[in-house]
Each structure stands twice: as C-alpha cells, then as structure tokens.
Symmetry: C2
Subunit: 278 residues, 2 copies
C-alpha cells in the first residue's frame, strides 16, 4: 500500500479492455488456497471486498442485490421448497437468504474451504448461515456431489464464480443434466449466468442445451455495480413452474432489493438479449 | 499513446474511489471548447467513445440502451406527441430516437456547439438527426431557452451530463418549474437522473421538489455498462398520464433495447430506491 493509491481491477474483465476499478484502503488478508488466490480488502466506498484470483466476488455494499435475487425468486415460485442445494456460495450470502424461508435442509457444497473460513472471519453479516442447524456444509466439487442425489432437491442454486478455474465444469451440459436428475419432479434450478452485455455467447450456449433438458428455461437479471457491466443474470431452469405465472408468494420482511414487482420485472429483457434467450 | 497501455477512467466517478476503466486504442480528437474539454477515442471494445471533461458521455457499443429509453418510454405514453424539446443531447442520439416517431418539430438546445460538430464528424450513426427537416437546432443554455415557451411542448427531454460544470442548473427546482410551464396541459418531461446506487441524495432532492411541481413523478432506469454502476435512471414527470397505466403504444421497428415489457419493468424498482422515490 505504501501511502500510494492502490486500486483493484477485475482481472477477468480487464483482459477484455474494460474493468471496474475500486480504490482500496487496506489489505486484510491475502492467501493462496489449494484452488485459488484469496484476497480480502477494505475498500474506499464499498466496505469490505472479497476477490478470488483477482476477480471481484462480492462487496459489502452491493452483495444484497445479488444474494437476494439468486435466492428469493425461485423460493417465491416453488410452493413448498424443503430441500435446497447451493453449489459454490462459500461466502454464505446465498444461504443467508435461503434460510429466511421455511426450508428443512440446506446443503452448501463449496469446493474451497478457505473461502468459508475467510468469510466467517471477515464478513460476519454475510456468513451468518454457518451457525444454523438446517445447514449441511460440505467441501467438495459440486459437479461430483450432485451425482449422489436423484429426485431429491426442490431447489438447486449454482452460486459460482466465472467459467475459468475451478468453476469451469459448472457451465457444462453434463452438469446441468445432473442438476435435472437431482431435482424432484417440480424442482427448480437457478444458476449464475453472467452479463447479458458481455457474455452473450456463453448465455446462448447455456440456453441451447438447457432448453433440451428443462421444459421451462428463462433468463433474469439483477443490478450489481461492482460486477462487470453492472448487471449479472441467472438461468431459471424449471421442471414445472413458470417463474412469473406460477408465483407462490411468501412474505419475507426487510429485504433491500427483492419485491414481487422486481421479481416479475427481472424477466423482462431488452430486445438484444431476448433474441438470444427467447 | 506511445505503445503503452492507455486507459480512460470516468473522472466524476473516480473521485469517489471507484471507476469504470476503458482501454483506448487511439485518440481521434482532443479539443477545449468554451465550456469543457472534449475527447473522442477509439476504444478497445466499445467502439468510439465521447468524453466531456474526462467523464464518459457515450460509447458506440451501448449508447442505444440510453437513447432508446430516454425517448421511447414517454413517446409511448403521450397519445400524440407533436412538439418535443431536447435540452443537451448534442450528440444527436436522443433526437435520432425521437424522430422515429411521427413528431412535428424537435427543438434541440445544446449549450456547446463543439459537441454537435464533433458528433457529426466522428459519430455518423448517432448524429443522423441533423439532416432532418423537423429539427430546430439551437446552441443556447437550455435553462434560459425554456423560459421562452409556455404551454407549448408535449415532451421535454433533459439529456444532460452530470450536475457539475455547465449542467448544474439542470438539476435545480427553478428549472423544473420552467419545464412544467413550457409543457402543454398533458405534457411529459423525462430527465436524466443518475444512478439509483450512487446518487440517492440527488434523486431524493429531485423527487422532493418534483412531487410539488408535477402530479405524477416516477423513476425508471436503463442499463448502460459504461456509466458509473452500470445503470442510469430518469425522472418521469407528467401532468396527466401515468407511465404504465396510460401507455399509448406506437409500433417502432428495429429497436435494440426498448419494448413494451421493458417499458413497464423499468418502473419496477428495488426496495432500497422505492423507499426514496415511492
């Protein structure tokens, strides 16, 4: 740091000639796990920030917009979600939101136990889930773990990093076939599916094979200022329920982003991406 | 440029400890007008880019998302918009969209004639409006120009830069009072109103006084990756028509962002901003 200004740039994005830059006040932790470089920073205007391999995973200031939307949309469509699997999501933010619902058990399968340790240590408002009796925390490869379950989960959430490094397999057709088989007959999967502006090719590939696997496949998005392009989307892959027509609303107080209007609005897309996923 | 990597950072944003960074291939023009520094760059991945006082105004890659939404929303609410005033918007992108509708006359009041010159020279796909017979182009201070019109415009669009430098007056209560008076009895104003994430204080101020001035005031947004936070919003200030209930749809082909679903969805806001504008 040395008194000189220090800024972090999102490494994945920067390769492509664009990047969000965030000014850092101090480094709180920098370590290398078996899988990746892990950094925690205190930033100038987004609170604490977690980076994996120099790619921004979350900041305290805007993580709610991501974690609420990856969770509450499907939880307000499925009439009675009992068993939930989260793949990735070692920071705990997605599980924190899922546990606001009346669920029975939440499996969290994170490949890198160091991410969980770091989140518990530095992100106490995000990692609240790890004390909850309904949690089953596993450190394993999610693409392998899911093979052990058939007709079991009501909801699978893939809260992955970008399709480089350990998360690459989480964007493959075989993995989505295994998600399908792990779900009950009216199960839903929600999977991190990148930016409609920057990742059209990836989204197109996901939609081509997912439309063969699931009867209902839709794209929806949220706004996250510290992610590339400021928006990130999700695939909504469903065996039975339509994400808008089949809402089963559950009252969840004190959310900062999610509400029933934004739930429906998040599926209304600009023409340029409708042409790809429509 | 000297063979070394050159990146532009949005100057307004950077002050606050965050910024979008865009890699530049070459500089096409750099000049100082009476009002501001004007730069045109060829960027690595967004096509050409216009910056005023080192603040990114537009890029060829994503300007459509801004210009379509600042224009077509109100034009699909007002049943018969004949006379339109654009304040700012010297690049011509907003007028290009307005002229896709069956309007009679479009006044474009840009304070800085150098912006118009540069856009005509370097942004031929954006500055198409300047050949249209329906255009009345004025180089003047919009805050003064509007005082000359009472009960005249069906639609006023304020396509301004940020509230520093020449655009500061365009965020003041007096200016909005004058907009109100320049509008016909069922007129609508749409004004650039910054980011719901980064400019909550400014948006709150705008809404406090606009709710005194206009019967209907709403906030809606679009997605623009090269603007701070990746999203920018607009105030919809209306004397008669509700932006969602009173749509009068006109068929406009070949748009890349706007459609009737996204029109409605753009007014559905996350809780944290609903609390401010609701």
């Amino acid at each position: 740091m040395n008194g000189k200004d220090f800024w972090i740039n999102d490494a994945w994005d920067k390769e492509k000639g664009r990047s969000i830059s965030i000014k850092i006040k101090s480094s709180l932790e920098s370590c290398r796990s078996e899988f990746q470089q892990i950094d925690v920073y205190e930033s100038e205007c987004f609170g604490r920030l977690l980076a994996l391999d120099n790619i921004i995973m979350l900041t305290e200031a805007d993580e709610f917009a991501y974690h609420e939307m990856i969770s509450h949309v499907a939880l307000n469509v499925h009439p009675d979600p009992r068993r939930v699997l989260i793949i990735g999501g070692g920071d705990g933010g997605t599980a924190r939101e899922v546990l606001k619902h009346d669920v029975e058990e939440v499996h969290l399968c994170e490949i890198d136990r160091e991410v969980i340790r770091v989140s518990i240590k530095y992100f106490p408002t995000i990692s609240t889930c790890f004390d909850d009796q309904r949690m089953k925390v596993v450190t394993d490869d999610g693409a392998e773990y899911i093979k052990g379950y058939k007709d079991f989960f009501d909801l699978v959430i893939v809260d992955s990093s970008d399709p480089i490094g350990p998360a690459r397999v989480l964007f493959a057709e075989e993995f989505y076939n295994n998600i399908h088989d792990s779900l009950t007959e009216d199960g839903i999967a929600v999977t991190q599916s990148e930016s409609m502006f920057y990742d059209k090719g990836l989204i197109k590939d996901l939609f081509v094979f997912n439309k063969r696997i699931f009867p209902i496949v839709r794209y929806f998005y949220t706004l996250v200022p510290t992610y590339p392009s400021g928006t990130i989307g999700f695939s909504f892959c469903s065996k039975k329920y339509d994400p808008v027509k089949d809402m089963h609303k559950k009252i969840i107080p004190d959310l900062r982003y999610y509400n029933y209007d934004i739930h429906k609005a998040a599926f209304m897309l600009p023409n340029f991406i409708n042409q790809i996923v429509g």
